[in-house]
Amino acid sequence: MATVTQELTTPVVRPHLARQTAAFAVLLVLLAVAVVASLCVGRFSVPAGRALELIWQGITDPARDLTEIDERIVLLVRAPRVLLAALAGAGLAVSGAALQGVFRNPLVSPDILGISQGAAFGGALAIMLGIWGFPLIAMVFLCGLAALILVGLLSRINGRTETVTVILSGLVISSMFSAVVSLLQFVADPNTSLPAIVYWLMGSFATATWDRTLVAAPGLVIGAFLLWMLRFRLNILSLDEAEARSLGANTSLERWLVFGLVAVIVGSQVAVSGIIGWIGIVIPHAARLIVGHDHRTLLPASVLLGAGFMVIIDTIARTATAAEIPLGVITALVGAPIFTLLLRHHYRERAGS
Protein backbone atom coordinates (compact mmCIF):
# COMPACT_ATOMS: atom_id res chain seq x y z
CA MET A 1 0.00 0.00 0.00
CA ALA A 2 2.86 2.39 0.88
CA THR A 3 4.49 1.97 -2.52
CA VAL A 4 1.19 2.61 -4.26
CA THR A 5 0.86 5.86 -2.29
CA GLN A 6 4.33 6.91 -3.40
CA GLU A 7 3.53 6.32 -7.04
CA LEU A 8 0.31 8.23 -6.82
CA THR A 9 1.52 11.29 -4.94
CA THR A 10 5.01 11.81 -6.31
CA PRO A 11 4.09 13.04 -9.79
CA VAL A 12 1.92 15.76 -8.29
CA VAL A 13 4.26 16.80 -5.48
CA ARG A 14 7.52 16.95 -7.40
CA PRO A 15 6.59 19.52 -10.07
CA HIS A 16 5.08 21.55 -7.23
CA LEU A 17 8.49 21.74 -5.55
CA ALA A 18 10.33 22.44 -8.81
CA ARG A 19 7.86 25.21 -9.59
CA GLN A 20 8.32 26.77 -6.16
CA THR A 21 12.12 26.71 -6.46
CA ALA A 22 11.97 28.32 -9.90
CA ALA A 23 9.56 30.97 -8.65
CA PHE A 24 11.83 31.92 -5.76
CA ALA A 25 14.86 32.06 -8.05
CA VAL A 26 13.01 34.47 -10.35
CA LEU A 27 11.89 36.63 -7.42
CA LEU A 28 15.44 36.82 -6.05
CA VAL A 29 16.84 37.81 -9.44
CA LEU A 30 14.10 40.42 -9.81
CA LEU A 31 14.97 41.94 -6.44
CA ALA A 32 18.71 41.92 -7.19
CA VAL A 33 18.19 43.59 -10.57
CA ALA A 34 15.87 46.19 -9.04
CA VAL A 35 18.39 47.02 -6.30
CA VAL A 36 21.36 47.34 -8.66
CA ALA A 37 19.37 49.35 -11.18
CA SER A 38 18.18 51.69 -8.45
CA LEU A 39 21.76 52.24 -7.27
CA CYS A 40 22.81 53.11 -10.81
CA VAL A 41 20.11 55.31 -12.27
CA GLY A 42 19.32 58.90 -11.39
CA ARG A 43 20.49 62.33 -12.35
CA PHE A 44 24.06 61.14 -11.78
CA SER A 45 24.24 57.72 -13.37
CA VAL A 46 26.76 55.15 -12.15
CA PRO A 47 27.75 52.01 -14.14
CA ALA A 48 26.50 48.78 -12.54
CA GLY A 49 30.01 47.37 -12.02
CA ARG A 50 31.15 50.51 -10.26
CA ALA A 51 28.02 50.58 -8.07
CA LEU A 52 28.61 46.99 -6.92
CA GLU A 53 32.28 47.74 -6.30
CA LEU A 54 31.33 50.73 -4.15
CA ILE A 55 28.82 48.69 -2.17
CA TRP A 56 31.46 46.02 -1.61
CA GLN A 57 33.91 48.65 -0.39
CA GLY A 58 31.22 50.14 1.82
CA ILE A 59 30.61 46.75 3.43
CA THR A 60 34.25 45.71 3.85
CA ASP A 61 35.54 49.12 4.92
CA PRO A 62 32.62 51.13 6.32
CA ALA A 63 34.81 53.66 8.15
CA ARG A 64 36.52 54.86 4.95
CA ASP A 65 36.36 58.55 3.98
CA LEU A 66 34.08 59.12 1.02
CA THR A 67 35.72 61.61 -1.31
CA GLU A 68 34.57 60.74 -4.83
CA ILE A 69 31.18 62.10 -5.88
CA ASP A 70 29.94 58.71 -7.11
CA GLU A 71 30.97 57.19 -3.77
CA ARG A 72 28.97 59.75 -1.89
CA ILE A 73 25.93 59.39 -4.15
CA VAL A 74 25.83 55.59 -4.08
CA LEU A 75 26.77 55.01 -0.44
CA LEU A 76 25.23 58.01 1.32
CA VAL A 77 22.20 58.82 -0.83
CA ARG A 78 21.07 55.82 -2.85
CA ALA A 79 22.10 52.86 -0.67
CA PRO A 80 20.17 53.87 2.46
CA ARG A 81 17.22 54.83 0.30
CA VAL A 82 17.19 51.52 -1.58
CA LEU A 83 17.56 49.58 1.67
CA LEU A 84 14.75 51.51 3.35
CA ALA A 85 12.48 51.09 0.32
CA ALA A 86 13.21 47.35 0.19
CA LEU A 87 12.57 46.88 3.92
CA ALA A 88 9.39 48.97 3.84
CA GLY A 89 8.06 47.13 0.78
CA ALA A 90 8.88 43.76 2.32
CA GLY A 91 7.30 44.74 5.64
CA LEU A 92 4.09 46.06 4.11
CA ALA A 93 3.73 43.06 1.81
CA VAL A 94 4.31 40.48 4.55
CA SER A 95 1.88 42.37 6.85
CA GLY A 96 -0.77 42.29 4.15
CA ALA A 97 -0.23 38.58 3.53
CA ALA A 98 -0.47 37.78 7.25
CA LEU A 99 -3.59 39.90 7.79
CA GLN A 100 -5.37 38.46 4.76
CA GLY A 101 -4.71 35.01 6.16
CA VAL A 102 -5.84 35.81 9.68
CA PHE A 103 -9.00 37.59 8.50
CA ARG A 104 -9.69 34.95 5.83
CA ASN A 105 -10.43 37.95 3.63
CA PRO A 106 -8.37 38.74 0.55
CA LEU A 107 -9.35 42.42 0.59
CA VAL A 108 -7.86 43.24 3.97
CA SER A 109 -4.70 45.34 4.14
CA PRO A 110 -2.59 46.88 6.93
CA ASP A 111 -4.72 50.06 6.67
CA ILE A 112 -7.78 48.15 7.79
CA LEU A 113 -6.78 47.92 11.44
CA GLY A 114 -6.53 51.70 11.70
CA ILE A 115 -2.77 51.48 12.26
CA SER A 116 -1.84 53.52 9.18
CA GLN A 117 -4.31 56.30 9.94
CA GLY A 118 -3.42 56.32 13.62
CA ALA A 119 0.25 56.57 12.71
CA ALA A 120 -0.55 59.31 10.19
CA PHE A 121 -2.29 61.28 12.92
CA GLY A 122 0.76 60.97 15.16
CA GLY A 123 3.04 62.20 12.38
CA ALA A 124 0.80 65.09 11.34
CA LEU A 125 0.44 66.22 14.95
CA ALA A 126 4.21 66.05 15.45
CA ILE A 127 4.91 68.06 12.30
CA MET A 128 2.36 70.68 13.32
CA LEU A 129 3.94 70.99 16.74
CA GLY A 130 7.33 71.36 15.08
CA ILE A 131 8.59 68.02 16.37
CA TRP A 132 11.04 66.23 14.08
CA GLY A 133 13.54 63.43 14.25
CA PHE A 134 13.28 60.65 16.76
CA PRO A 135 10.38 62.12 18.81
CA LEU A 136 8.30 62.26 15.60
CA ILE A 137 9.01 58.61 14.94
CA ALA A 138 8.08 57.75 18.51
CA MET A 139 4.80 59.66 18.22
CA VAL A 140 3.93 57.99 14.92
CA PHE A 141 4.61 54.57 16.35
CA LEU A 142 2.69 55.17 19.58
CA CYS A 143 -0.34 56.59 17.77
CA GLY A 144 -0.36 53.61 15.39
CA LEU A 145 -0.28 51.28 18.37
CA ALA A 146 -2.95 53.35 20.17
CA ALA A 147 -5.23 52.99 17.13
CA LEU A 148 -4.74 49.22 17.23
CA ILE A 149 -5.54 49.12 20.97
CA LEU A 150 -8.68 51.21 20.38
CA VAL A 151 -9.76 48.78 17.68
CA GLY A 152 -9.11 45.95 20.11
CA LEU A 153 -11.22 47.51 22.85
CA LEU A 154 -14.02 48.51 20.48
CA SER A 155 -14.28 45.07 18.88
CA ARG A 156 -14.39 43.18 22.15
CA ILE A 157 -18.02 42.43 22.89
CA ASN A 158 -18.92 40.31 25.91
CA GLY A 159 -15.32 39.23 26.22
CA ARG A 160 -15.18 37.86 22.69
CA THR A 161 -13.77 39.34 19.50
CA GLU A 162 -15.29 38.41 16.16
CA THR A 163 -13.40 38.97 12.94
CA VAL A 164 -16.12 41.10 11.43
CA THR A 165 -16.25 43.42 14.45
CA VAL A 166 -12.49 43.88 14.18
CA ILE A 167 -12.85 44.95 10.55
CA LEU A 168 -15.72 47.30 11.37
CA SER A 169 -13.91 48.77 14.36
CA GLY A 170 -10.84 49.24 12.17
CA LEU A 171 -12.93 51.17 9.66
CA VAL A 172 -14.42 53.33 12.40
CA ILE A 173 -11.06 54.13 14.01
CA SER A 174 -9.48 54.71 10.60
CA SER A 175 -12.05 57.23 9.51
CA MET A 176 -11.96 58.92 12.92
CA PHE A 177 -8.20 59.38 12.73
CA SER A 178 -8.31 60.48 9.11
CA ALA A 179 -10.94 63.08 10.06
CA VAL A 180 -8.64 64.39 12.78
CA VAL A 181 -5.75 64.45 10.31
CA SER A 182 -7.92 66.55 7.95
CA LEU A 183 -8.71 68.84 10.86
CA LEU A 184 -4.99 69.21 11.58
CA GLN A 185 -4.38 70.05 7.94
CA PHE A 186 -7.20 72.59 8.09
CA VAL A 187 -5.70 74.44 11.05
CA ALA A 188 -2.05 73.97 10.02
CA ASP A 189 -0.03 76.97 8.87
CA PRO A 190 -0.40 76.98 5.05
CA ASN A 191 3.12 78.38 4.61
CA THR A 192 5.12 75.98 6.75
CA SER A 193 3.57 72.94 8.38
CA LEU A 194 0.74 72.26 5.90
CA PRO A 195 3.00 71.43 2.92
CA ALA A 196 5.21 69.35 5.20
CA ILE A 197 2.24 67.36 6.50
CA VAL A 198 0.77 66.85 3.03
CA TYR A 199 4.07 65.75 1.53
CA TRP A 200 4.82 63.44 4.44
CA LEU A 201 1.35 61.87 4.22
CA MET A 202 1.80 61.16 0.53
CA GLY A 203 4.81 59.01 1.36
CA SER A 204 8.38 59.31 0.18
CA PHE A 205 11.83 57.85 0.70
CA ALA A 206 13.40 61.15 -0.39
CA THR A 207 14.48 61.93 3.16
CA ALA A 208 16.13 58.53 3.64
CA THR A 209 19.49 58.68 5.37
CA TRP A 210 21.41 55.94 7.14
CA ASP A 211 20.12 57.34 10.45
CA ARG A 212 16.49 57.12 9.42
CA THR A 213 16.96 53.74 7.80
CA LEU A 214 18.53 52.40 10.98
CA VAL A 215 15.65 53.79 13.06
CA ALA A 216 13.03 52.02 10.96
CA ALA A 217 15.00 48.85 10.25
CA PRO A 218 14.72 47.07 13.64
CA GLY A 219 10.91 47.25 13.70
CA LEU A 220 10.61 46.23 10.05
CA VAL A 221 13.13 43.39 10.26
CA ILE A 222 12.03 41.99 13.62
CA GLY A 223 8.33 42.29 12.78
CA ALA A 224 8.74 40.61 9.41
CA PHE A 225 11.02 37.95 10.87
CA LEU A 226 8.52 37.03 13.60
CA LEU A 227 5.66 36.90 11.09
CA TRP A 228 7.81 34.60 8.98
CA MET A 229 8.40 32.44 12.07
CA LEU A 230 4.61 32.21 12.41
CA ARG A 231 4.15 31.08 8.80
CA PHE A 232 2.79 27.61 9.59
CA ARG A 233 0.64 28.99 12.40
CA LEU A 234 -0.87 31.46 9.89
CA ASN A 235 -2.09 28.46 7.89
CA ILE A 236 -3.94 27.32 11.02
CA LEU A 237 -5.28 30.81 11.77
CA SER A 238 -6.62 31.03 8.20
CA LEU A 239 -9.09 28.24 9.03
CA ASP A 240 -12.40 28.97 10.66
CA GLU A 241 -12.52 29.59 14.40
CA ALA A 242 -13.64 26.10 15.43
CA GLU A 243 -11.17 24.29 13.18
CA ALA A 244 -8.23 26.43 14.29
CA ARG A 245 -9.09 25.94 17.95
CA SER A 246 -9.57 22.21 17.52
CA LEU A 247 -6.01 22.08 16.12
CA GLY A 248 -4.69 23.65 19.32
CA ALA A 249 -4.48 27.34 18.38
CA ASN A 250 -5.37 29.99 20.94
CA THR A 251 -7.00 31.96 18.16
CA SER A 252 -7.77 35.31 19.77
CA LEU A 253 -4.39 35.62 21.48
CA GLU A 254 -2.48 34.57 18.37
CA ARG A 255 -4.47 36.93 16.13
CA TRP A 256 -3.56 39.83 18.39
CA LEU A 257 0.06 38.75 18.27
CA VAL A 258 -0.12 39.04 14.47
CA PHE A 259 -1.88 42.42 14.73
CA GLY A 260 0.80 43.66 17.15
CA LEU A 261 3.60 42.62 14.78
CA VAL A 262 1.81 44.36 11.91
CA ALA A 263 1.56 47.50 14.07
CA VAL A 264 5.31 47.38 14.70
CA ILE A 265 6.01 47.03 10.97
CA VAL A 266 3.53 49.63 9.74
CA GLY A 267 4.40 52.08 12.53
CA SER A 268 8.11 51.83 11.70
CA GLN A 269 7.43 52.29 8.01
CA VAL A 270 4.98 55.19 8.31
CA ALA A 271 7.32 56.98 10.74
CA VAL A 272 10.09 57.37 8.18
CA SER A 273 8.25 57.39 4.86
CA GLY A 274 4.62 58.34 5.41
CA ILE A 275 1.59 56.36 4.25
CA ILE A 276 2.27 54.05 1.32
CA GLY A 277 -0.90 52.36 0.21
CA TRP A 278 -1.58 49.38 -2.06
CA ILE A 279 1.64 47.43 -1.45
CA GLY A 280 0.05 45.46 1.38
CA ILE A 281 -2.84 44.35 -0.81
CA VAL A 282 -1.40 44.03 -4.33
CA ILE A 283 1.84 42.20 -3.51
CA PRO A 284 0.35 39.31 -1.47
CA HIS A 285 -2.18 38.69 -4.25
CA ALA A 286 0.53 38.62 -6.89
CA ALA A 287 2.68 36.39 -4.67
CA ARG A 288 -0.26 34.01 -4.22
CA LEU A 289 -0.59 33.66 -7.97
CA ILE A 290 3.11 32.79 -8.20
CA VAL A 291 3.72 30.44 -5.24
CA GLY A 292 0.24 29.53 -3.99
CA HIS A 293 -1.63 30.21 -0.77
CA ASP A 294 0.45 28.29 1.75
CA HIS A 295 1.91 30.89 4.12
CA ARG A 296 5.12 28.92 4.39
CA THR A 297 5.92 29.99 0.83
CA LEU A 298 3.60 33.00 0.55
CA LEU A 299 5.40 35.01 3.25
CA PRO A 300 8.93 34.74 1.84
CA ALA A 301 7.59 35.34 -1.67
CA SER A 302 5.75 38.46 -0.45
CA VAL A 303 8.96 39.71 1.19
CA LEU A 304 10.98 39.36 -2.03
CA LEU A 305 8.27 40.69 -4.32
CA GLY A 306 7.34 43.56 -1.96
CA ALA A 307 10.96 44.63 -1.61
CA GLY A 308 11.61 44.49 -5.35
CA PHE A 309 8.36 46.23 -6.26
CA MET A 310 8.92 49.03 -3.74
CA VAL A 311 12.48 49.64 -4.96
CA ILE A 312 11.24 49.84 -8.56
CA ILE A 313 8.40 52.20 -7.62
CA ASP A 314 10.77 54.41 -5.65
CA THR A 315 13.24 54.50 -8.53
CA ILE A 316 10.47 55.61 -10.86
CA ALA A 317 9.36 58.20 -8.29
CA ARG A 318 12.76 59.89 -8.25
CA THR A 319 13.74 59.53 -11.91
CA ALA A 320 10.55 59.90 -13.97
CA THR A 321 10.37 63.68 -13.68
CA ALA A 322 12.68 66.46 -12.57
CA ALA A 323 10.85 66.67 -9.23
CA GLU A 324 10.02 63.69 -7.01
CA ILE A 325 6.59 62.18 -7.51
CA PRO A 326 4.98 61.18 -4.17
CA LEU A 327 5.09 57.40 -3.73
CA GLY A 328 1.44 57.14 -2.77
CA VAL A 329 0.52 58.53 -6.18
CA ILE A 330 2.56 55.94 -8.06
CA THR A 331 1.59 52.96 -5.90
CA ALA A 332 -2.07 53.87 -6.43
CA LEU A 333 -1.63 54.45 -10.18
CA VAL A 334 0.22 51.15 -10.61
CA GLY A 335 -1.48 49.21 -7.81
CA ALA A 336 -5.11 49.91 -8.66
CA PRO A 337 -5.00 48.49 -12.21
CA ILE A 338 -2.88 45.51 -11.12
CA PHE A 339 -5.29 44.83 -8.30
CA THR A 340 -8.26 45.01 -10.69
CA LEU A 341 -6.58 42.52 -13.01
CA LEU A 342 -5.73 40.17 -10.14
CA LEU A 343 -9.24 40.34 -8.78
CA ARG A 344 -10.81 39.62 -12.16
CA HIS A 345 -8.38 36.76 -12.71
CA HIS A 346 -9.22 35.38 -9.26
CA TYR A 347 -12.98 35.41 -9.78
CA ARG A 348 -12.83 34.18 -13.35
CA GLU A 349 -10.80 31.21 -12.15
CA ARG A 350 -13.15 30.64 -9.25
CA ALA A 351 -16.17 30.79 -11.54
CA GLY A 352 -14.46 28.32 -13.87
CA SER A 353 -13.78 25.73 -11.20
Binding site: A2, T5, F232, D240, A242, L247, G248, D294
Partner: protein
Protein backbone atom coordinates in the same frame (compact mmCIF):
# COMPACT_ATOMS: atom_id res chain seq x y z
CA UNK B 1 -12.29 9.08 26.80
CA UNK B 2 -14.58 11.93 25.96
CA UNK B 3 -17.88 13.03 27.43
CA UNK B 4 -20.00 15.45 29.40
CA UNK B 5 -21.18 15.22 33.01
CA UNK B 6 -24.37 16.99 34.08
CA UNK B 7 -23.69 19.64 31.43
CA UNK B 8 -26.00 22.66 31.35
CA UNK B 9 -26.00 25.23 28.53
CA UNK B 10 -28.43 28.15 28.46
CA UNK B 11 -28.96 30.68 25.69
CA UNK B 12 -30.79 33.48 27.47
CA UNK B 13 -34.00 32.04 28.90
CA UNK B 14 -33.73 28.84 26.85
CA UNK B 15 -32.03 25.82 28.36
CA UNK B 16 -30.41 23.94 25.47
CA UNK B 17 -28.62 21.26 27.42
CA UNK B 18 -30.22 20.24 30.72
CA UNK B 19 -27.86 18.16 32.88
CA UNK B 20 -26.70 16.16 29.87
CA UNK B 21 -24.37 13.27 30.62
CA UNK B 22 -22.72 10.74 28.38
CA UNK B 23 -19.34 9.15 28.13
CA UNK B 24 -17.50 7.58 25.21
CA UNK B 25 -14.51 5.45 26.25
CA UNK B 26 -11.70 4.66 23.83
CA UNK B 27 -12.85 1.86 21.56
CA UNK B 28 -16.50 2.87 21.39
CA UNK B 29 -18.51 4.99 18.96
CA UNK B 30 -21.41 7.25 19.89
CA UNK B 31 -24.10 8.50 17.49
CA UNK B 32 -25.98 11.64 18.58
CA UNK B 33 -29.50 11.90 17.16
CA UNK B 34 -32.08 14.60 17.58
CA UNK B 35 -34.49 16.83 15.70
CA UNK B 36 -33.31 20.10 14.18
CA UNK B 37 -32.57 22.84 16.69
CA UNK B 38 -32.52 20.51 19.66
CA UNK B 39 -28.86 21.10 20.43
CA UNK B 40 -26.80 18.50 18.59
CA UNK B 41 -24.36 21.14 17.41
CA UNK B 42 -24.25 22.72 20.87
CA UNK B 43 -23.47 19.31 22.32
CA UNK B 44 -20.61 18.84 19.89
CA UNK B 45 -19.28 22.31 20.66
CA UNK B 46 -19.48 21.54 24.36
CA UNK B 47 -17.59 18.28 23.87
CA UNK B 48 -14.96 20.07 21.78
CA UNK B 49 -14.64 22.74 24.47
CA UNK B 50 -15.89 25.61 22.27
CA UNK B 51 -19.12 26.09 24.23
CA UNK B 52 -18.92 27.41 27.75
CA UNK B 53 -20.91 25.25 30.17
CA UNK B 54 -23.21 26.99 32.65
CA UNK B 55 -22.85 23.98 34.91
CA UNK B 56 -21.36 20.52 34.78
CA UNK B 57 -18.07 19.40 33.33
CA UNK B 58 -16.38 18.07 30.23
CA UNK B 59 -13.97 15.19 29.93
CA UNK B 60 -11.71 15.25 26.89
CA UNK B 61 -8.08 15.01 25.85
CA UNK B 62 -6.23 18.31 25.20
CA UNK B 63 -6.64 17.93 21.47
CA UNK B 64 -9.77 16.36 19.99
CA UNK B 65 -9.70 15.31 16.35
CA UNK B 66 -12.52 17.38 14.86
CA UNK B 67 -14.00 16.69 11.44
CA UNK B 68 -16.15 19.66 10.41
CA UNK B 69 -18.91 19.26 7.85
CA UNK B 70 -17.10 21.56 5.43
CA UNK B 71 -13.88 23.51 5.70
CA UNK B 72 -14.47 27.21 5.39
CA UNK B 73 -11.03 28.54 4.51
CA UNK B 74 -10.91 30.49 1.28
CA UNK B 75 -7.23 29.67 0.95
CA UNK B 76 -6.07 27.20 -1.66
CA UNK B 77 -3.95 24.59 0.09
CA UNK B 78 -2.88 21.20 -1.20
CA UNK B 79 -4.61 18.32 0.60
CA UNK B 80 -1.35 17.17 2.18
CA UNK B 81 -0.77 20.66 3.55
CA UNK B 82 -4.27 20.62 5.06
CA UNK B 83 -3.59 17.26 6.70
CA UNK B 84 -0.21 18.32 8.11
CA UNK B 85 -2.06 21.12 9.96
CA UNK B 86 -3.21 18.34 12.27
CA UNK B 87 0.32 18.41 13.69
CA UNK B 88 0.00 22.05 14.82
CA UNK B 89 -0.58 21.26 18.50
CA UNK B 90 2.67 19.29 18.59
CA UNK B 91 4.64 22.03 16.87
CA UNK B 92 3.74 25.08 18.96
CA UNK B 93 3.47 28.70 17.91
CA UNK B 94 6.69 29.02 15.91
CA UNK B 95 7.12 25.37 14.94
CA UNK B 96 7.30 24.14 11.36
CA UNK B 97 6.21 20.69 10.18
CA UNK B 98 9.20 18.51 9.36
CA UNK B 99 9.60 15.24 7.40
CA UNK B 100 8.23 13.23 10.35
CA UNK B 101 5.07 15.30 10.38
CA UNK B 102 4.62 14.81 6.65
CA UNK B 103 5.11 11.06 7.12
CA UNK B 104 2.36 11.08 9.75
CA UNK B 105 0.16 13.16 7.44
CA UNK B 106 0.69 10.74 4.54
CA UNK B 107 -0.10 7.79 6.81
CA UNK B 108 -3.29 9.55 7.98
CA UNK B 109 -4.34 10.22 4.39
CA UNK B 110 -3.83 6.55 3.62
CA UNK B 111 -5.87 5.49 6.64
CA UNK B 112 -8.68 7.80 5.52
CA UNK B 113 -8.46 6.32 2.03
CA UNK B 114 -7.48 9.66 0.51
CA UNK B 115 -3.84 9.12 -0.47
CA UNK B 116 -4.56 9.81 -4.10
CA UNK B 117 -5.59 13.40 -3.29
CA UNK B 118 -2.37 14.30 -1.44
CA UNK B 119 -1.04 16.68 -4.08
CA UNK B 120 -4.43 18.02 -5.19
CA UNK B 121 -5.79 21.38 -4.19
CA UNK B 122 -8.26 20.93 -1.35
CA UNK B 123 -10.76 23.44 -2.75
CA UNK B 124 -10.95 21.49 -6.02
CA UNK B 125 -12.09 18.27 -4.30
CA UNK B 126 -15.71 17.17 -4.04
CA UNK B 127 -17.55 17.36 -0.71
CA UNK B 128 -16.98 13.67 0.02
CA UNK B 129 -13.29 13.88 -0.88
CA UNK B 130 -12.80 16.95 1.30
CA UNK B 131 -14.35 15.11 4.21
CA UNK B 132 -11.85 12.27 3.80
CA UNK B 133 -9.01 14.81 3.87
CA UNK B 134 -10.46 16.50 6.96
CA UNK B 135 -10.73 13.07 8.61
CA UNK B 136 -7.07 12.51 7.77
CA UNK B 137 -6.24 15.83 9.43
CA UNK B 138 -8.13 14.77 12.56
CA UNK B 139 -6.24 11.46 12.55
CA UNK B 140 -2.93 13.30 12.12
CA UNK B 141 -3.50 15.10 15.43
CA UNK B 142 -2.86 11.73 17.08
CA UNK B 143 -5.82 12.35 19.38
CA UNK B 144 -7.61 9.33 20.83
CA UNK B 145 -10.93 11.14 20.32
CA UNK B 146 -12.64 11.91 17.01
CA UNK B 147 -15.68 14.16 16.67
CA UNK B 148 -17.65 14.34 13.40
CA UNK B 149 -20.17 17.12 12.78
CA UNK B 150 -23.02 15.69 10.68
CA UNK B 151 -20.61 13.70 8.52
CA UNK B 152 -23.34 12.27 6.26
CA UNK B 153 -25.43 15.39 5.84
CA UNK B 154 -24.16 16.43 2.41
CA UNK B 155 -23.40 13.00 0.99
CA UNK B 156 -25.23 10.97 -1.65
CA UNK B 157 -26.08 7.34 -0.90
CA UNK B 158 -22.86 5.99 -2.37
CA UNK B 159 -20.75 8.38 -0.32
CA UNK B 160 -22.83 7.61 2.79
CA UNK B 161 -22.01 3.95 2.30
CA UNK B 162 -18.32 4.83 1.92
CA UNK B 163 -18.39 7.05 5.03
CA UNK B 164 -20.08 4.38 7.15
CA UNK B 165 -17.52 1.82 5.97
CA UNK B 166 -14.77 4.23 6.96
CA UNK B 167 -16.34 4.89 10.37
CA UNK B 168 -16.70 1.16 10.91
CA UNK B 169 -13.09 0.63 9.91
CA UNK B 170 -12.01 3.14 12.54
CA UNK B 171 -14.36 1.58 15.07
CA UNK B 172 -13.01 -1.92 14.41
CA UNK B 173 -9.52 -0.87 15.51
CA UNK B 174 -10.95 0.10 18.91
CA UNK B 175 -8.26 2.73 19.50
CA UNK B 176 -10.42 5.87 19.34
CA UNK B 177 -13.39 7.35 21.14
CA UNK B 178 -15.62 8.43 18.24
CA UNK B 179 -18.62 10.78 18.34
CA UNK B 180 -20.76 11.72 15.36
CA UNK B 181 -24.09 13.48 14.88
CA UNK B 182 -26.63 12.34 12.31
CA UNK B 183 -30.24 12.66 11.22
CA UNK B 184 -30.55 9.06 10.17
CA UNK B 185 -30.97 6.39 12.88
CA UNK B 186 -29.74 3.83 10.32
CA UNK B 187 -26.30 5.45 10.55
CA UNK B 188 -26.34 4.78 14.29
CA UNK B 189 -27.27 1.15 13.62
CA UNK B 190 -24.57 0.83 11.00
CA UNK B 191 -21.59 2.47 12.66
CA UNK B 192 -22.16 3.15 16.37
CA UNK B 193 -22.02 1.20 19.63
CA UNK B 194 -24.01 3.71 21.65
CA UNK B 195 -26.61 6.34 20.82
CA UNK B 196 -27.60 9.59 22.48
CA UNK B 197 -31.19 10.54 21.67
CA UNK B 198 -31.89 14.21 22.33
CA UNK B 199 -35.65 14.24 22.81
CA UNK B 200 -37.73 17.27 21.81
CA UNK B 201 -39.01 17.65 25.39
CA UNK B 202 -35.49 18.38 26.66
CA UNK B 203 -34.89 14.89 28.02
CA UNK B 204 -32.17 12.74 26.59
CA UNK B 205 -31.60 9.02 26.38
CA UNK B 206 -28.13 7.47 26.31
CA UNK B 207 -27.33 3.79 25.93
CA UNK B 208 -26.28 0.95 23.61
CA UNK B 209 -27.69 1.21 20.08
CA UNK B 210 -29.82 -1.95 20.37
CA UNK B 211 -31.60 -0.57 23.43
CA UNK B 212 -31.99 3.03 22.30
CA UNK B 213 -32.78 2.76 18.59
CA UNK B 214 -36.27 1.32 19.02
CA UNK B 215 -39.53 2.35 17.30
CA UNK B 216 -40.93 3.74 20.54
CA UNK B 217 -37.95 5.95 21.31
CA UNK B 218 -37.63 7.12 17.72
CA UNK B 219 -41.33 8.06 17.57
CA UNK B 220 -40.77 10.22 20.64
CA UNK B 221 -37.62 11.63 19.05
CA UNK B 222 -39.01 12.66 15.67
CA UNK B 223 -42.77 12.63 16.20
CA UNK B 224 -43.13 10.26 13.25
CA UNK B 225 -44.37 6.65 13.45
CA UNK B 226 -41.38 4.35 12.94
CA UNK B 227 -40.95 0.70 11.90
CA UNK B 228 -37.97 -1.55 12.34
CA UNK B 229 -37.34 -4.22 9.73
CA UNK B 230 -34.76 -6.95 9.52
CA UNK B 231 -33.42 -7.42 6.02
CA UNK B 232 -30.82 -9.77 4.57
CA UNK B 233 -27.58 -7.78 4.37
CA UNK B 234 -25.01 -7.94 1.56
CA UNK B 235 -23.30 -10.90 3.25
CA UNK B 236 -26.57 -12.77 3.82
CA UNK B 237 -26.65 -12.05 7.58
CA UNK B 238 -29.65 -10.13 8.82
CA UNK B 239 -29.34 -6.37 8.99
CA UNK B 240 -31.62 -4.08 10.93
CA UNK B 241 -33.08 -0.96 9.31
CA UNK B 242 -35.32 1.84 10.59
CA UNK B 243 -38.02 3.32 8.39
CA UNK B 244 -40.31 6.27 9.03
CA UNK B 245 -43.93 5.24 8.44
CA UNK B 246 -44.94 8.40 6.57
CA UNK B 247 -48.53 8.90 5.41
CA UNK B 248 -47.68 7.51 1.99
CA UNK B 249 -46.82 4.14 3.45
CA UNK B 250 -50.06 3.93 5.38
CA UNK B 251 -52.03 4.78 2.25
CA UNK B 252 -50.38 2.03 0.27
Amino acid sequence: MIGLTEAVVRFGPRTILDRLSFVVPVGRTLAILGPNGRGKTTTLKAVLGFQRLDAGSRTAPDIVGYVPQTASSNQRYRAIDVVVMGRAAHLGLFGQPGPDDFDIAHAALERAGASRFAGHFFDRLSGGERQMVLLARALATGSAALVFDEPAAALDLHNQERLLTLLNGLRALRDKAIVFTTHDPNHALAAADDALLMMPDGQSLFGPVMETITPGHLERLYGVPMRIVDLPGPGGDPQRAVLPAFAGIRAA
